[in-house]
Amino acid sequence: MVKLIAGRILQGFGVLVAVSLIAFFGIYAIGDPTSLLVDPQATQQDVEQVRHNLGLDQPMWRQYGLFVGSLASGDFGRSFATHEPAMRMILERLPATLELALAAIVIAVVAGVPAGLAAGTHPGSRLDRVVMTASILGFSLPTFWVGLMLILVFAVNLGWLPSFGRGELGSWLGIHSSLFTLDGLRHILLPALNLALFPMSLVARLTRSGAREALELDFVRFARAKGISERRVVFVHILKYISVPIVTMIGMQLGLLVAFAIVTESVFSWPGTGKLLIESIGRLDRPVVVAYLLVIVSIFVLLNLLTDLVYLTLDPRVRFDAGAHAE
């Protein structure tokens, strides 16, 4: 088990190194950012000075070494646009993105799991077909379009919910979040619903197929033969049994949602990292883009690790025999 985790940590580290390489060569090495940084009227000497200060006159491998070295000391460079440290800009926006992704995943699970269970335990029923068709819609409709429609219906026409911003932030245990005030919750509802659409479809489908398979298994029949209620059969026996792949998937989705939030944040003017990324791309603000990439990938890696740990606690069998569980 320790070996398994150590392996995963090593693998995650490898991915980070790969991303730092891609980020560096892809973003720093292509083209010369000096022209963006210095005054167009600057003399050749000034330009050389700036190049020297940025280390751009060094050979490529040394530049990468410097880049990695500064990464290690937490320096991701300063934003070309605001001259703030890029990392601080990202970290300031990160809570907004994380709370949005978290709210979305909660909605996806709360709606997707029961829908999938209902569909899976009644194969071929009308309910089953409705859930399946809805999930195709969830997969194929562009997120930004659904976001617009949510705004049109619930904010513009009905006027029930606000359409942009985080609203009032509450604070609890030192964390500031929209989730802690009523106004904040009203603000987060539409964007979270929008972001939840895709994972909800995924969770519903996965739950459905898991439940269908579990129904055929002997332990479900034995549980019924014991005379326990159908509710307990479905919500304890089947749900616990299929929870392992579902939790695994949710863990991976949470990471992806942080990235997918780019679209939702732009539609709902949610002040998170995704919106910052779009703004930075528009301003050609490379350090911020690189910092964003590295932070997001670190989150992916971390969440995957966490998912593995949860997987180990959920499925008693893997503690003894990793990989024995047929998913």
Binding site: P123, G124, L215, E216, L217, D218, F219, R221, F222, A223, R224, A225, K226, G227, I228, S229, E230, R232, V236, H237, K240, Y241, S243, V244, L314, D315, P316, R317, F320
Partner: protein
């Protein structure tokens, strides 16, 4: 283990439906029919099965895989899953027809008055729930019980089926137990409420031979002490021979022969029963060569109205294209065959 003769043995007459009963039976299955919807149409897997189970009796149902014996078991407790469906007959527990009960009322009977043990102990316990959870939920399903009492009863139940260190086992997950121990847990669960009937669907098939014998004798003792009737479903005639009171031989969804176990095994009348016996080393009557039954059973979809065994039967004639009626060749025996073996011929050959 010598075969115990059914208490109401050969002295009692058959009822009009061909059943066999002295006092009112605890469980009576009449004209049970279960169909499966398949790509080839609707196929009857259980086709008019009748039998009765007296208090404390052990009834064996023997048949090859696909003969409908397991589906018969599932049908009794309403555990047939779509595309299967029970379409006819009655299952009387006392005077309640289980097939007519609403789901909640049936759930109240399952595990309390009629319980079940399944073939594969690897699969019949939920792998992600602890043993205590799975025992206690069965206790709670039929009456409220405090945490402490429930735990004590669960430990007691395990001890009664011969599990050492029950307290420790309660905290285990199923995969931490051996196959035999898992099956004991299942049996303990089935026995929790001292049911009137336990239906055991090949409960020892997946186990080692030595453990098989142990579990057989333990179950027999447990049932005898509590007066529980046992419906033992198996493909293994030697298991039935060793401890059932009566036996029903099933072929292609029908009971082709039934009767007291020593009589049926000692002097089978149906060619299929004879064939089964000849393919079991321990039972092939002295000097007879081991002979597997030629051919394979027809797929349920290919069955017609005639005797389903006639394609594999040396005695088959044109008459066999018509379904043989059930006959009662002796008290307590039933038979469906146009050309039964007679006792003398059988002994000589």
């Amino acid at each position: 283990m010598s075969p115990t003769v059914c208490p109401d043995g050969a002295s009692q007459g058959a009822t009009s439906e061909g059943h066999f009963a002295a006092e009112a039976p605890v469980l009576r299955v009449a004209a049970l029919r279960t169909e499966f919807a398949t790509a080839a149409g609707i196929v009857p897997v259980v086709d008019g099965v009748d039998f009765a189970l007296a208090r404390g009796e052990v009834l064996g149902i023997v048949g090859e895989s696909g003969s409908g014996k397991s589906v018969t078991a599932y049908s009794i407790l309403g555990l047939v899953e779509p595309p299967g469906r029970v379409t006819g007959g009655r299952v009387l527990l006392g005077d309640i027809d289980l097939l007519a009960l609403p789901p909640e009322a049936l759930a109240a009977i399952r595990g309390a008055r009629v319980s079940m043990v399944f073939q594969d102990p690897m699969m019949s316990l939920n792998p992600v729930l602890r043993v205590d959870t799975q025992i206690i939920e069965a206790l709670r399903a039929h009456g409220s019980i405090g945490r402490h009492d429930a735990h004590a009863r669960a430990a007691d139940a395990l001890a009664r089926v011969g599990i050492a260190a029950p307290e420790e086992r309660l905290r285990s997950y199923p995969h931490e137990l051996s196959g035999g121990m898992r099956q004991r847990v299942c049996i303990a669960i089935a026995m929790l409420h001292q049911p009137e009937v336990i239906i055991a669907d090949e409960p020892t098939t997946a186990l080692d031979v030595t453990i098989q014998a142990q579990i057989l004798s333990e179950m027999q003792a447990l049932c005898a002490s509590s007066g529980t009737a046992l419906l033992w479903i198996t493909h293994d005639l030697s298991v039935v021979a060793s401890f059932a009171d009566r036996v029903c031989v099933m072929y292609a969804g029908r009971i082709v022969e039934s009767g007291p176990v020593d009589v049926v095994i000692g002097a089978p009348r149906h060619p299929y029963t004879r064939g089964l016996l000849d393919s079991v080393p321990a039972l092939a009557a002295g000097g007879r060569r081991l002979a597997p039954i030629p051919g394979m059973p027809l797929a349920p979809a290919d069955l017609d109205a005639g005797c389903a065994f006639r394609h594999r039967c040396a005695r088959a004639s044109e008459r066999c294209a018509l379904a043989p009626d059930e006959t009662f060749p002796a008290p307590g025996r039933t038979l469906r065959c146009h050309h039964p073996l007679d006792r003398a011929a059988d002994r000589d050959s």
